[in-house]
Amino acid sequence: MQDEAFKEFFQNLLSDKTEQQIIDLILQGLESEEIVDRLVKSKRSKAK
């Protein structure tokens, strides 16, 4: 489900960055395990 309209809808609705990231990854069609890995990776890179 890669619909820009949906993505825009949710991104505008959610103010929390992590929430936005989650929706983005879901709309990219990633599975839950990948989403967790991506989120941790993103957190790790921000920490550096």
Binding site: Q2, E8, F10, N12, L13, I26, V36, V40, K43
Partner: protein, 713 residues
């Protein structure tokens, strides 16, 4: 390209007819079918939708589903069909068949030589069937939100799955070799071991105190109970003796009293009877003595007799009446009394000889005749004689009363006076009460003695259990009383000491429970620590805290999408909103919905111009264009709003292949249809659209590919 065929056999009452396709059986991917009513163009769309499991697709308008249902399940007709769609670019083929006799539909896809059966669920996962009739399109713009509803639901479910996964990761990290967690375990174990040590020491103290108190209590109780038992036994012995003496004494007294009372009673009755007889006679002889008679009748004879005074009322009365009777005798003359007696005695004597015929010398009369003469003479003295008899009888009665009184006074009065002097009532029942009291006292004393005996036995047992002999008791007590900290307890009663022992027992048990619990927790922590030490570190090891936060975020997001957003959207679809009471969150949400719908419709034709749509506000029924124009939905032409609605449907883009079947677009002019055709061509070019069939009413039958007008024409 699509190839199809069908056969409908219908019973129309007067005849049975067969309907076959009236249009070419092979069509392009993008086809428009124009034709008059009942030419079979809508029937083709019904059949295609049936083949794609449209009967089970709730998104399809109910009026269309009803028509599909009629085709399959009506009694008056049978339908058989087959069709095949081939995509030349991808090599994908969809094949569908339905026999005329059975309602079952067989649908499968073929790709790269592989055939896959498409159940309704499998079909919906891979294909998006858009089958619609633009009925009341202005109102149905609202229904474009169903796409959003479905997306929200899908995303909400995926967030739910993400929650579950995050929870798993948290558990996995907890179960992996985490040095921080191992350290936490070590600290916890250390803390618990310290607590365990303290509790064990406390338990030893409590047990020592408990032992001291128990030994003191039972030692002291043994001595006390022995003393109490001894006293109780002594009392029982004493009461037994008392009871025996009381019983003997009282029995003797009772017997004596009983006999005296009986004899005295007989004597008293005799006196009373004679008194009654006497008074009857005296009332005739001494009528003036009425007052004295009354006093005598009122007299308490028993009291007078028991008191036995020398000149009591009875004795005085006897003397008085005797003198009075003598005076009567003297007053009447002794000769008359003697003469009366003479005749009376003569008659009495002669009566024994009245049968004799012998004549009595001097009077020459027989005995019987002489008796008659004497009786005649005696009658002259009859009244005097009766009075004389009464006086004699009264004297006799006075003598009897006097004799009986003297006997009573001599025999009974002293004894009865003696009982009275002891303060006892002259009642035998009282003596029985005294014995009963003594028996009761004894019974109570025996019960008390048995109780002390039992207590003493219990104390002996308790002391023996604790290794205290009777001889050691004093030493045990001295030992306890010698401990300074225990001084206050020396003043305690047995009950208070027992209470203290119960408290100590409870405290000891609680401490034992705590110790068990601590030992269990230590062992459990040690086991977990050992298990962790054997594990490999988790790849997200250092991010455990952050992942916990992530779980909270994800949980919150799930709640918001599944509960709040879903409710907001439902209220919008069902038009149950209170416009005046919208919360900030609702306003934000509906604002985003209006932008979402604007993106779906993209371009709108109004009057003679095309406008780029910024948003469609379903709360206020307005379309906002990017140029700032606000168009009321009700002001849109039917064809224009129909066009907007169809575009909205076609803009539902995801990974699935689209099959678009659009019926009855007659209200749209070519300028309204062109934007739809553009979208169909665009989707087809992108490979997203597998088949697009548009049906329009027209006077003449015409079937052909959907064509785009060149710009400017």
């Amino acid at each position: 390209m699509i190839q199809f065929d069908y056969r409908i056999e219908r019973d129309e009452g007067d005849e049975k007819r067969v309907y076959l396709p009236g249009i070419p059986k092979q069509l392009d991917d993008l086809t428009i079918i124009e034709g008059p009513n009942s030419s079979g163009k809508s029937t083709l769309l019904h059949i295609l939708a049936l083949g794609f499991h449209g009967l089970k697709d709730k998104r399809i308008h109910p009026s269309l589903r009803k028509k599909m249902d009629d085709l399959v399940y009506s009694d008056h007709q049978t339908l058989g069909f087959d069709f095949r769609i081939d995509n030349e670019v991808t090599g994908l083929r969809l094949v569908c068949k339905k026999g005329r006799r059975k309602p079952d539909i067989s649908l499968y896809q073929e790709l790269d030589g592989k055939r896959t059966v498409l159940s309704p669920e499998a079909f919906r996962r891979k294909y998006n069937l858009i089958y619609d009739i633009p009925d009341n399109p202005t109102e149905r713009l609202r229904q474009l939100t169903t796409d959003l509803k479905s997306a929200q639901h899908t995303i909400g479910s995926k967030v739910g799955l993400l929650n579950a996964r995050i929870r798993e990761v948290i558990t996995d990290i907890g179960n992996s070799r985490d040095p921080r967690k191992i350290k936490e375990f070590e600290n916890t174990i250390k803390k618990l071991q310290k607590q365990l040590k303290d509790e064990k020491e406390k338990k030893i103290r409590l047990e020592k105190d408990l032992r001291l108190f128990e030994r003191y209590l039972y030692g002291k109780s043994l001595i006390e109970s022995k003393d109490e038992l001894k006293k109780a036994e002594e009392r029982v012995r004493s009461l037994k003796k008392k009871k025996r003496v009381t019983k003997t004494t009282r029995t003797r007294q009772a017997n004596q009293l009983s006999s005296v009372l009986a004899d005295a009673h007989t004597s008293e009755i005799l006196i009373r009877t004679n008194m009654t007889k006497l008074l009857i006679r005296l009332r005739r002889l001494l009528p003036k003595e009425k007052t004295r008679f009354e006093r005598l009748e009122m007299m308490d004879l028993r009291e007078v007799l028991i008191e036995a005074k020398p000149n009591d009322m009875l004795r005085e009365a006897i003397e008085h009446f005797r003198a009075a009777l003598n005076r009567i005798t003297e007053t009447q003359g002794s000769d008359e009394f003697k003469e009366a007696k003479l005749y009376s005695r003569l008659i009495e004597t002669l009566c024994d000889f009245q049968e004799l015929k012998t004549l009595i010398p001097g009077v020459k009369k027989t005995v019987a005749e002489f008796i008659e003469i004497l009786e005649e003479k005696a009658r002259e003295f009859e009244t005097l004689k009766a009075k004389c008899d009464n006086i004699d009888a009264a004297h006799d009665l006075l003598n009897n009363i006097e004799d009986e009184r003297d006997t009573y006074v001599k025999k009974y009065s002293p004894k009865l006076q003696h009982f009275s002097a002891e303060g006892k009532t002259l009642d035998i029942g009282h003596l029985e009460d005294v014995i009963d009291i003594a028996e009761r006292e004894l019974e109570e004393a025996e019960v008390a003695r048995d109780r002390y005996a039992q207590k003493h036995q219990d104390c002996l047992y308790e002391c023996k259990t604790r290794g205290i002999s009777e001889q050691r008791c004093a030493a045990v007590i001295a030992e306890f009383e010698g401990i300074k900290s225990l001084k206050p307890y020396v003043e305690y009663t047995e009950m208070q000491l027992r209470g203290k022992i119960t408290d100590l027992n409870n405290d000891t048990n609680k401490t034992s429970e705590k110790i068990k619990n601590l030992e269990f927790r230590i062992s459990s922590n040690e086991r977990d620590k050992r298990r962790l030490e054997k594990q490999e570190p988790h790849r997200h090891q250092g991010y455990a805290d952050w992942i916990n936060t992530l779980f909270e975020i994800s949980q919150r997001l799930y709640q918001r999408i599944q509960s709040e957003y879903d409710a907001y959207l439902l209220a919008l679809i069902e038009e149950t909103l209170d416009k005046a009471a919208l919360t900030t969150e609702q306003k934000q949400y509906y604002d985003q919905v209006s932008h979402f719908l604007g993106r779906k419709v993209e371009v709108l034709r109004h009057v003679d111009n095309e406008y780029e749509v910024d948003r469609i506000d379903l709360i206020n029924d307005r379309v906002h264009t990017k140029t700032g124009k606000k168009i009321k939905l009700s002001d849109l032409g039917t064809g224009q709003s129909q066009s907007a609605y169809i575009k909205g449907l076609l803009n539902q883009r995801d990974d699935r292949k689209i099959i678009a079947l659009i019926d009855e677009v007659a209200m749209m002019d070519s300028r309204s249809l062109q934007p739809i055709y553009k979208i169909l061509h665009k989707l087809h070019r992108e490979g997203s659209l597998l088949l697009g069939v548009v049906v329009q009413r027209a006077d003449e039958m015409a079937v052909g590919p959907i064509m785009l007008k060149e710009a400017g024409k």
